[in-house]
Symmetry: C2
């Protein structure tokens, strides 16, 4: 080993020792063990897929999972087909009325939202579920299809050990306040805007 390389190795090791110290210290300071509420918001690609990645994570431990999807198109997308066909142990419910700009029917949408919410509310009251995903719930709040206070109460009062993932743009400051972790997925660029079609198995 040359002197130069030896020095580089040593300086690397020193930096990594410091980094490890910092990381270990912050791991130690986190000591509260309970279910968490995660809000995935923002205008970028990756919110729903991230929620489904956490479903896979939970299933890896044999956890009990419920997925409730608000809005969504009339056709099942890949991850939904997978859940339906490969994961009968997951409770899976989809509003399935199509996007609200397709239905163009406010009263019909509200009725469907209420029906879907009833399924969500049941899961949020059932401590058997380790993980509940409420995909695109935020739109139900921004369109005022659901009563905000009722929704926030149910999220807040869920079982202590239950984790929860909520996805969708917006959702309001009270939802963000209630969440333990909030990630904003920002679109830096999107293939779509370059004329590339949405891709099966990646985009839907």
């Amino acid at each position: 080993m040359t002197d130069m390389t030896a020095q580089k190795e040593k300086s690397h090791q020193k930096k990594m020792e410091k980094l490890k110290e910092n990381i270990d210290a912050s791991i130690e300071s986190a000591s509260l063990e309970r279910g968490v509420c995660i809000l995935l918001t923002g205008n970028g690609k990756g919110k729903t897929s991230s929620a489904f990645g956490m479903v896979m994570r939970a299933l890896g431990y044999g956890h009990k999972v419920a997925v409730v999807q608000f809005i969504k198109g009339e056709q099942l997308s890949g991850e939904e087909l997978y859940l339906r066909d490969q994961c009968p142990q997951v409770k899976f419910y989809q509003m399935g009325t199509g996007f609200t700009w397709d239905t163009q029917d406010r009263s019909g949408d509200i009725a469907a939202a209420e029906k879907t919410w009833a399924v969500a509310e049941e899961a949020l009251a059932d401590k058997q579920y380790d993980l509940v995903v409420l995909d695109e719930l935020t739109y139900m709040l921004s369109f005022k299809y659901l009563d905000k206070q009722r929704v926030l109460n149910a999220l807040q009062n869920r079982p202590f050990e239950q984790s929860l993932v909520v996805t969708g743009r917006g959702g309001g400051s009270e939802l963000a306040e209630l969440a333990d972790t909030v990630s904003e997925v920002k679109e830096i660029k999107h293939a779509y805007n370059e004329g590339v079609m949405a891709r099966k198995g990646v985009d839907f």
Copy 2:
């Protein structure tokens, strides 16, 4: 129906018609069908889970998938256990040396990175794979464990139909340039900073 409600319904319908027009127009203008490269970056929670959600999406259509993980801890996390145990059809390779701040050994890390890259390179040259995930690849570039140009060439020259997801903070402007879609996951807040422990089935 009162006049007020009727008016509200009508105004809603008008707004939704306009929205549908805009959405339909942009769908129509996207006409190029090919595999896409997606970069999930930023400091927030949700990058790896989003990549695994896309794996589930692809599996829903029976697509062929390869997942190569750079860095990562010595214990498999939930989604990795799931892939290993439930998805033998997925090619899954993990560098598995632990985080670089744990190993504190630069030469050893570089050798492991090279070995892992060889697996990635093989998948990127094999048009059987519909989707390739390179989890935490960006750190290999920022630590200069891998030759940047060699990596960029392999990503760029992958089969036309193959989609690719790269995750990790940073990664540099050339990688972002090469990607079709870039999402930056921003940490707005994290449970961790409130003293809440990382949660099994959600965080790992």
